[in-house]
Symmetry: C2
């Protein structure tokens, strides 16, 4: 790479760091990349750190010493995130989202790249300190959320299938009972998808009683993997605590009321925003 | 936003632009955001433009005049992209990827956030000038690729389902014949997912004869939408041109040989890389 002036180097370093979240980059590597003294690199990093922290982009963690370097941890600020979630709640309250059975149409929201990035950053903030190795979700609607979080946590995604596809090779399958419908269903994951002892973050779009997520927890125990966290976009508040199978999770929004007759829907920010 | 020094402003503007690809941002908006003269902003943009172009991050298009501004178009450089695709080809050639029926296991690659971003940038480069309104894919393995491209083209994703889920509302379904297996299958898309006259980019992970993609093309005609492009990660080269249903597409890689007996797999860069 050709030698850059400080102004150009700041632009390049900014995009380099943004592209590599949760990755330790040594000062030596930066100094070589930019053919600059470590002291100059340190000054640049101080400028970037201040902007990232002031603007709610994330944190730059500096490690001193011979093995030292810098690590970019994407984070959102709670008050900025809350404003975005309040917008999501208003969108979810539109009466024409109500589908037969009291389900909400939210596929359109899960297709918007800007919104997905915001939601991914919220999950990445909630689970930044949990040492996540891999994110797991179940097809289909959890996938965009899982990938959005994966990008900011910089870990791979594995997708649990509801069917058994030929293109997965040998799989581990389990049966689970969907908490709300009480039906027995099957989910499976390719045997080679997950290493033993992996620390897994489970992400899904919607949780009622938690049967599907409990299924994923059971599947993880088949792989001797560890549940390091559970995050859902919307939890249904219409489930009482005794019915709920799962208690330790982060929700970004909470569906508190669905009235099929009046078509009234109420959605509030989830437990991620509780003080 | 507080007034920043030039160095801090460059950091902030870089991340602001990277976060908003294919979006026109007026000089006035930037000048107000940073409480700076438009002439200073123009100088900053010239620095960013040079770095983005030198490093193969993308282009900054400047529009002059009262309605003028700047637009960041993510692009990759062909020679950088080719090196990455050659890595992907080598990974796909590992004999243990071979599954019964001559399929290749590639789910692991489609879970890697860094690789997905590279692939998304390649699709975004190939289709940058096609005025894409929306990206369409079919569940399940195309979804991560579609979302990766969506992020760089800044357009939403719609997902075609192979089943009919209650949480989609009314759907349009079609039958199609999978080109390789000759079986009749069904795919469906929520009626509200797509506007008439939308310009649609179809993305999928794998194409053999093209039956599934032809199904999506037929589905689009039901919505009176326009096929603005077709991109696949891997095309099978084991199909002769007469058998192929589809001829206008971009592939990033091409599977040229699968020998079930010797377990030999050969994968080459796709037509995106042809001169």
């Amino acid at each position: 790479m050709k030698k850059l002036k400080r102004s150009a180097r700041l632009v390049e370093m900014t995009q380099y760091l943004l592209d590599r979240p949760h990755t330790l980059i040594s000062l030596t590597a930066f100094a070589e990349r930019y053919q600059s003294a470590k002291s100059s690199i340190s000054e640049d990093l101080a400028i970037i750190k201040e902007v990232f922290e002031d603007e709610g982009i994330g944190e730059l963690h500096t490690l001193a010493g011979a093995a030292g370097g810098v690590r970019f941890i994407p984070k959102c600020r709670k008050e900025q995130a809350l404003r975005k979630i309040e917008d999501v709640c208003s969108m979810l309250e539109q009466p024409d989202r109500l589908l037969p059975g009291g389900y909400l149409y939210m596929t359109d929201l899960l297709g918007q790249p800007g919104l997905l990035q915001d939601l991914g950053r919220m999950f990445a903030t909630a689970f930044a300190e949990r040492d996540i190795d891999v994110i797991m979700t179940v097809e289909t609607k959890g996938i965009p959320l899982a990938h959005a979080a994966s990008q900011y946590l910089n870990v791979p995604v594995v997708i649990v299938r509801r069917d058994h596809k030929v293109t997965e090779g040998s799989v581990v399958s389990i049966n689970y009972v969907s908490g709300s419908t009480k039906r027995i269903q099957t989910m499976s994951l390719a045997r080679r998808a997950l290493k033993e002892q992996s620390r897994v973050l489970i992400i899904d779009d919607f949780m009622k009683a938690g049967g599907t997520i409990q299924g994923m927890v059971d599947l993880l125990s088949e792989f001797r993997a560890i549940v390091a966290g559970v995050g859902v976009l919307v939890e249904s508040g219409e489930v009482d605590n005794e019915e709920r199978l799962l208690h330790d999770y982060i929700s970004l929004a909470r569906l508190t009321e669905v009235d099929l007759k009046t078509r009234h829907i109420a959605v509030q920010p989830g437990n991620f925003f509780q003080p």
